[in-house]
């Protein structure tokens, strides 16, 4: 594990991973994994590809990742001071926080009225999209690779031509009475 004053890129990766893991948490990749807090079983946003997603220039957030991760660590330092927490110093300040505190800090940053809200929401949005739709990959490739988000959500598989069709789609029977004020063409009267 690098020191927080060490490699800037490593600090950024750890910090963004910790952010993404707060949004959709997963299990640690190894015993000494510090970025992932390890509060949920199975892969989370990090394993789903959050860093690949954020580093895709199509998102429009790539240039903001360095300033956002620096600001996040500054917020974490201030937050720790405010509530009297000790930061352990061997990892970036945000990574040093427990899941509970990471989550509480992010809740403040994305709350309506926070001046930096837009940036934090974008970071959350793309972390989410890495998990719930694997938007950095072709969906068929993501499914073939056992993408953790699509797999755990139970996203169905396509036909051999890579397109989805559901032949079985209806209970096939009347299940309610229509509203009495319905026109013959099926609109509200």
């Amino acid at each position: 594990m690098g020191s927080p004053t060490g490699d800037a890129e490593e600090i950024q990766v750890l910090t963004l991973e910790a952010y993404a893991d707060t949004i959709i948490p997963g299990e640690r990749r190894s015993a000494d994994d510090r970025a992932i807090a390890g509060v949920a079983p199975g892969g989370g946003a990090v394993q789903a590809g959050a860093l690949e997603m954020l580093n895709d220039p199509a998102t429009g957030v790539t240039a903001g990742l360095a300033p956002l991760s620096q600001t996040l660590n500054a917020h974490a330092t201030a937050y720790a001071a405010e509530i009297g927490l000790d930061l352990d110093g061997t990892v970036p300040p945000f990574v040093s926080l427990s899941y509970e505190h990471r989550s509480a800090l992010i809740a403040r940053l994305v709350a309506p009225g926070h001046p930096e809200k837009d940036g934090w929401v974008l970071l959350a949005l793309f972390s989410y999209m890495a998990y719930d739709s694997a938007a950095h990959m072709h969906t068929t490739d993501a499914i073939a690779a056992g993408h953790p988000g699509l797999l755990s959500m139970g996203f169905g598989k396509p036909d051999d031509d890579g397109l989805w069709r559901f032949r079985e789609h209806s209970y096939g029977r009347a299940l309610a009475r229509p509203h009495p004020n319905t026109t013959s063409s099926g609109s509200p009267a």
Binding site: T22, I24, P25, V39, A40, D56, P57, A58, G60, V61, S103, A107, V110, P112, D118, V121, A124, Y128, M129, Y131, D132, S133, A134, A135, H136, M137, H138, T139, T140, G149, S152, G154, F155, G156, P158, G162, L163, W164, R165, F166, E168, H169, S170, Y171, G172, R173, A174, L175, A176, R177, P178, H179, P180, N181, T182, S185, G186, S187, P188, A189
Partner: protein
């Protein structure tokens, strides 16, 4: 820079734009349509969440302050990405007062006077009633739950060729199987066959008034992959302008043009309505669905688990579309599907403290994704949206290469709107939490504000110049020859899906636009039939620059 000229310049190719382009071209006018999005069809509509493919190319998602708007961004506009549910608006919506304290619709319009125009647009879009065999598991479940709670439920009329539909549920990305009868199958090919010149990837930025009373429209061309990149610019002079860029974009173009057009009516960029939209997510208890509602699939193994299966909204509850209820107390409830990536984030995990849209409990909720049922509420809001100063281009500061931007709309819901949302939330809970069928939560408004796919009323028609930007013929007050025919002209929330009403109003506006064009020396007649069965395959030029 050379300046071209035409008789009629149409901005945007959704309902308002395509309908005007067809009738004016069919009547003999020279028509150019400028559309900021690409021109796609059939095989272009991929089943893929990858950024830069299907969804992101055809959508525009603009986050504002308190309201986010999702719209189409392609030739055919919202009709390419929409769910094609096309009910008529109930009679009482035309009598609404909303925030102005007296009837907000022009006196010439009510349900009876609009019905003949509804007939026309319904014929063109081929609106059909669905049978219970067409109703998907999600719609069937919603119907069964309504019935169990003593309510009614209606299969909604749609513009889908059900014989071609595969229930793939990628409908929002554009229909791969040509089952959705978008404008690409009717007004657009019909307009082209009469000589209309439709130019994709052309974004209109500004309108100028010329000394002779005609107008000059300035546009930029947009890169076909990275919509942040503008590749060129041009100008076209026209005698008549039809603005139809959608309710999230039309007022922005007009406000940007104030310097060159002169002052805008007060109502331009005000009175925006999100059609009172709100979304709830129910996580169903599969055992209770089987035991209480008696539903099962595939030999009784599974009761539902069908969130991914289907096609847009197929069943709606209309019990609260009751004219005797007070204003803001009326709404409809429609089951629908939102794909992951475009709405999953906003669903809130039941029973946890705020913020409930992320964290371990939300992850557990995602694990039950197959058992989700999304309910879409269309309530009566208070037209409280206001557009601030326009961004330099388009209707937003573009963030992502495609789709995502930050726009100048602000929306601060009034107690009236909030009470309508609360009543609709309570009704959904009463129906779906009954007998342990599900746990229901509303989508959070904290993240991107309220969320609408039905932007309306930002430039509305009306009789009173103080509260309407357009007269009842859709002409922009104080700017003769400029007409607005898109959703921005609709005065307020409709309590049902709006596209058929937008189309009916556009059809109704055409005779007046033809008259104005003739007065301005354009040789054009009115009287072309609605385009029916124009083509069985959509018209496309591929992606032209």
């Amino acid at each position: 820079m050379t300046v071209e000229s035409t008789d009629v310049l149409v901005v945007g190719s959704g309902f308002g734009g395509a309908i005007a382009a067809y009738h004016l071209a069919a009547g003999g006018a020279r028509v150019v349509v400028l559309e900021r999005g690409p021109w796609l069809s059939g095989k272009d509509f991929e089943h893929d969440f990858l950024l830069g493919s299907s969804y992101t190319r055809v959508f525009d998602f603009v986050a504002g302050d308190g309201m986010s708007v999702l719209s189409g961004n392609c030739v055919g506009g919202g009709s390419v990405v929409y769910f094609a549910a096309l009910p008529r608006a109930p009679r009482f919506t035309f009598e609404r007062h909303g925030s102005i304290g007296r009837r907000m619709w022009p006196s010439a319009i009510n349900r009876d006077t609009l019905d003949p125009w509804y007939d026309r647009i319904s014929e063109a879009m081929v609106v059909e009633q669905q049978t219970w065999d067409d109703v998907t598991f999600a719609g069937g479940l919603w119907a069964a739950a309504c019935d169990h709670a003593g309510r009614t439920a209606n299969p909604v009329p749609v513009s889908v060729d059900l014989s071609k539909c595969t229930n793939c549920n990628w409908m929002m990305a554009g229909c791969r199987f040509d089952a959705k009868r978008s404008l690409l199958f009717s007004y657009i090919p019909a307009a082209v066959s009469h000589g209309a010149d439709i130019r994709p990837l052309h974004e209109v930025q500004r309108i100028e008034r010329k000394d002779d009373g005609s107008y000059r429209v300035r546009y930029t061309t947009i890169d076909e992959v990275d919509y942040r990149v503008h590749t060129g610019e041009g100008a076209i002079d026209a005698k008549i302008i039809v603005l139809a860029a959608g309710a999230g974009a039309t007022p922005v173009i007009l406000k940007r043009s104030e310097e060159t057009l002169g002052a805008m009516p007060h109502a331009v960029g005000r009175y925006f309505s999100g059609n009172g939209e709100r979304l709830n997510t129910a996580v169903l208890n599969e055992d209770r669905v089987r035991d209480v509602l008696g539903l099962s699939r595939a030999g009784g193994r599974i009761a539902y688990e069908a969130n991914q299966i289907g096609k847009g909204p197929v069943v709606a509850n209309w019990d609260k579309l009751d004219a005797s209820l007070p204003e803001y107390g009326r709404f409809s409830l429609e089951q629908l599907y939102f794909p992951p990536g475009l709405g999953t984030i906003l669903a809130q995990a039941p029973g946890v403290a705020d913020p409930a849209w992320f964290g371990p409990a939300k992850k557990r909720m995602l694990e039950q994704w197959k058992s989700w049922l999304i309910i879409f509420q269309m309530t009566e809001d208070d037209n409280e949206g206001v557009f601030g100063p326009p961004p330099p281009t388009g209707n937003a500061f573009r963030i992502s290469q495609q789709m995502l931007g930050r726009g100048p709309l602000s929306y601060d819901p009034t107690p009236n709107t909030l009470s309508g949302w609360a009543a609709a939330d309570a009704e959904v809970k009463d129906i779906l939490e009954r007998d342990g069928l599900a746990e229901v939560t509303a989508w959070t408004n904290d993240l991107v504000g309220a969320y609408t796919v039905h932007p309306l009323a930002s430039c509305r028609i009306g009789d009173d110049p103080a509260t309407s930007a357009l007269d009842d013929r859709h002409e922009l007050r104080g700017h003769p020859g400029i007409f607005v025919t898109d959703g921005s002209a609709v005065p307020g929330a409709l309590t049902v899906n709006p596209a058929l009403t937008i189309g009916a109003l556009a059809e109704r506006a055409i005779p007046g636009i033809v008259r104005a064009a003739r007065e301005r020396g354009v040789a054009v007649d009115y009287g072309a039939p609605v385009p029916v069965g124009v083509t069985s395959t959509p018209m496309t030029t591929g992606v032209a620059g």
